[in-house]
């Protein structure tokens, strides 16, 4: 079982769920449906997956300054990732979590972890702790 210690970027509740490891950076605005959490960007390799309840591994983020609004909308609608693990901090996206916390809406923790370590978590149930520990708990069998 994999385990790594990430740096906490935005404090939040511990979260666990099936890993969703993105192969390419994504723009939340236009790339993720704010109502469902579905990846809507048809050119993205993970198009058709859904971020809700997943431990989301982001190799990078691109695009619009409204990414924060999309993430806030996901948190409020209960469709946010269970935790966010990202290669480098993105102040615009993470602003969605900062604002959610201010609004009193339970928001997931976000940690920084080098993208070279992301792939090892694919296919597992992963837990992210408030101290930044990222650990796989078990293999994830889709549909099981």
């Amino acid at each position: 079982m994999m385990a790594a210690r990430g740096e906490v970027l935005v404090a939040g509740a511990a979260g666990s769920g099936p890993a969703l490891v993105l192969d390419q950076p994504i723009s939340f605005w236009g790339g993720v449906d704010p109502k469902t959490g579905g990846i809507a960007d048809v050119r993205h390799p993970q198009h058709g997956e859904n971020v809700a309840g997943r431990v989301l591994f982001l190799p990078g983020t691109i695009g619009s300054s409204s990414a924060s609004a999309v993430l806030l909308e996901l948190v409020r609608g209960g469709r946010a990732p269970a935790a966010i693990v990202m290669h480098e901090p993105d102040a615009i996206l993470l602003l969605g979590l900062i604002v959610a916390r201010e609004m009193g809406w339970p928001a997931p923790v976000a940690v920084r972890l080098d993208r070279a370590q992301h792939a090892g978590f694919a296919g597992n149930i992963v837990a992210v702790e408030p101290d930044g520990t990222v650990a796989s708990r078990a293999s994830h069998v889709p549909g099981a």
Partner: protein
């Protein structure tokens, strides 16, 4: 080095001035920490892009600030909303969404923001002085503010824009710092023919090429003789900021931080030079269109960024009292309509022009849903965003060709690049 807040800033964050001001200061401080800033700096004004409805959470956020007694500490103009509050045109947003969009626009007014509702605040009397720090949102407004006015701002997105306006501060990072404002890349257009460079389409076309080539770097355009006019620079910056993450450009001999090429480069050698050829310009123009071979058009949209009074004058001259065969959506702000006057506006509307105020056709549903619809525009920014946001395929053309096409209902394309 960690973020160091002053005693004053700490007191505000702890609630001295009320819960709304505290929330804004905490959001600002957390963002500054993520950006790696070591301190906050005062800003003189703000332009707020956060009042455009993307979902109920944004409305609830703004209303929380209002309930906490927050007010903006500096002049803050508002970018477009999702509704036309002047009633000029009908926005097809219904029921609960319409209600929440309206509540959102009202909440930002209650925070003390000015109801400018325009993406061209710099033509609506909001022009910060060269060298002053401000906190602006909306990509075209950011790039104009930095490049043409010489004021200093980063690209402030949703939530952070209003937090900066309430706190009157911004993180000391990025384009607020002089060392990050000098050009690294030269964009040389001297090989392009003079007739093209003096045409209207040169600026949106070159802007979209500049954005793709330069990305997030700071670039300087060289090879331009004479000031092309503010509307041309507006079109260039908007196009550049829609194809790349451009926050600041210089034009040697034209923009305030570039009296000449050497000054724009800060006396240092360029990291790279893009030598623009006529073929590159022609290719950039072609890429603005997604429906090259259309034999009809369904609508024309102009005014991204919002039309200035001078651009409304040009539209009136080109329409010349004729009746349009397809609707021409003219997106603009209250400032320009006031200057233009109600009688001239009524004459344009009788001809078939649809005036869109406070908002625009790519951010909210205004144009009819037409399967396989074709939209003609002279805006590089509309050309970039219309296919994804409206479903229309785009034909890019000059303003004169847009008007002729609206009169005939068929594409008239007389101006080609280079």
């Amino acid at each position: 080095m960690a973020l160091d807040l002053t005693d004053e800033e700490r007191a505000v964050a702890a609630g001295r001035d009320g819960e709304g001001a505290a929330m804004a200061m905490r959001i600002l401080a957390e963002s500054a920490r993520l950006l790696g800033a070591t301190e906050l700096i005062p800003v003189r004004s703000a332009h707020i892009d956060g009042a455009l409805y993307h979902g109920d959470s944004g409305t609830l956020f703004a209303e929380r600030l209002v309930a906490g007694g927050a007010k903006v500490a500096v002049r803050a103009t508002l970018n477009v909303g999702a509704l036309d509050l002047t009633g000029s045109c009908r926005v097809r947003l219904e029921g609960a969404e319409r209600d929440m969009a309206r509540r959102m626009m009202r909440a930002y007014r209650e925070l003390g923001c000015e109801p400018s509702w325009t993406c061209a605040p710099y033509q609506a009397g909001h022009r910060p002085e060269k060298g002053t720090d401000v906190a602006w949102g909306e990509s075209n407004a950011v790039v104009f503010c930095n490049s043409v006015l010489g004021a200093r701002t980063n690209r402030y997105g949703d939530f952070l824009d209003i937090a900066c306006a309430i706190a009157g501060r911004a993180p000391d990072t990025g384009l607020h710092r002089v060392e990050n404002r000098r050009a690294r890349v030269v964009f040389d257009v001297s090989a392009l023919p003079a007739p093209f460079l003096s045409s209207e389409i040169a600026w949106p076309v070159l802007g979209s090429l500049f954005g793709r080539e330069i990305g997030s770097a700071v670039g300087v355009v060289t090879g331009i003789t004479g000031h092309p006019g503010e509307d041309a620079l507006k079109a260039f910056g908007a196009a550049a900021a829609s194809t790349g993450a451009v926050g600041l450009f210089h034009i040697a001999g034209v923009t305030p931080e570039a009296p000449d090429l050497e000054a724009a480069l800060g006396g240092q050698p360029a990291v790279a030079t893009v030598a623009v050829t006529p073929a590159m310009a022609l290719d950039a123009q072609r890429r603005l269109s997604t429906a090259e071979r259309a034999d009809r058009i369904d609508a024309v949209a102009i005014g991204s960024p919002h039309l200035s009074p001078r651009e409304l004058d040009a539209l009136e001259r080109l329409v010349a009292g004729r009746r349009l065969a397809v609707p021409l959506f003219a997106c603009t702000g209250r400032h320009a309509l006031d200057a233009f006057g109600p009688d001239r506006r009524a004459a344009l509307e009788r001809a078939g022009v649809v005036i869109v105020a406070d908002t625009c056709v790519v951010v909210t549903p205004i144009m009819a849903e037409v399967a396989g619809g074709v939209l003609m525009t002279n805006s590089g920014k509309f050309a970039q965003y219309a296919p994804g946001n409206t479903g229309y395929a785009v034909l890019y053309a000059s303003l004169a060709d847009c008007v002729e096409s609206a009169v005939t209902g068929r594409p008239v394309l007389r101006e080609l690049a280079a």
